[in-house]
Amino acid sequence: MHELSVTENILKITLEYAEKEKATKVTDIYLNIGQLSSIVDDSVKFYWDLIAKDTICESAKLTFNRIPARMSCKSCQNEYNLGPEPGPCPVCGSYDVLVISGDEFQMDSINIEK
């Protein structure tokens, strides 16, 4: 259900930037979504079709750039990507690790026509 509020925010930010640029149409929207952020692409697309109707974003294509959760091991300095189930460092087995990326929840850019 939080995809609705997320989608509304995507539309709001897109329109704000598009208006500043005096765009007549938004053709593409690029989003950076980390593996550790929960969002269902299809659900956002479903709401998008409903709320973007009759705006200059109506036919815009949404692209989700999925960023893997990248970890750095504090014990052996190895870097690794988290699998579907978060796990320890595959080299030394340590749980003392740092998340380097994967929390992203960001509007990257839009393509417009004007």
């Binding site: 925010n9 930010i13 796990g87 960001q106 004007k114």
Partner: protein, 221 residues
């Protein structure tokens, strides 16, 4: 007709974050320590809040913002009966509280008469942590019967909090729960997370939680 790429690089929830900062300033202005409590339904949010009120109410002035998806006032009624101020926020089916709902809640509380505000978020382990409300602390309650695999299944939630309460430790003899597996998952995702194992029922471990809140309240004075 010209085409152009416009770089944005802005958090999708930036509007919520900005309003959360406004709430944070308002709470700071009044010297109020505040906690956003999140958990799955049944983990013990209301129980922990009621127990905390009961122990602290003689010395600390407490307000509670209750988030519920439906227009039920069960929790708010219990909080008021327990001796605190309470505001009920009906999210209208929404699965989380956001900073505009908290702004509305704060407007209904006598802030100049409060030391501590506890926000009871909607019971959900998926999205509440993504929405900053402007509280001093974000707390998650996990409970023994939910199972030891929750950090692995809901990493976003465990990433987005400052304090973890592990409730219902009195049930450990009856439920399979591997402490190491659970705590390793927590450490992996959020190494600085402070953990309070306790039981609202037997009050085992409640002392550490209460002392920690008292310490935080002192910092605000």
């Amino acid at each position: 007709m010209a085409t152009k790429k416009v770089t944005i690089l802005e958090n999708i929830l930036s509007a919520n974050d900005q309003l959360a900062e406004k709430n944070r300033s308002l709470l700071d202005h009044h010297g109020i320590f505040s906690i956003n409590i999140m958990a799955s339904p049944g983990a013990g949010k209301t129980s922990l809040i009621l127990k905390t009120i009961d122990i602290l109410k003689k010395t600390v002035r407490i307000g509670v913002i209750e988030g519920d998806t439906a227009a039920v006032t069960i929790d708010a009624d219990r909080v008021i009966a327990g001796g605190a101020y309470a505001v009920q926020i009906n999210t209208g089916g929404n699965c989380h509280l956001d900073s505009s709902m908290i702004e509305a809640g704060l407007n209904q509380l006598p802030l100049e008469q409060l030391d501590l505000i506890i926000v009871e978020n909607v019971g959900n382990l998926v999205c509440p942590a993504a929405f900053d409300l402007g509280t001093s602390i974000r707390a998650l309650i996990a409970s023994i019967p939910e199972g030891d695999d929750k950090p692995y299944k809901y990493p976003g939630m465990y990433r987005g909090v400052d304090v973890l309460i592990l409730n219902k430790i009195d049930l450990k003899p009856y439920v399979p729960f591997n402490d190491d597996y659970f705590l390793n998952g927590v450490r992996l995702l959020n190494p600085k997370l402070q953990v309070f194992p306790l039981s609202c029922k037997t009050e085992e471990g409640m002392d550490s939680w209460i002392e920690w809140i008292k310490g935080q309240l002192k910092k605000k004075v």
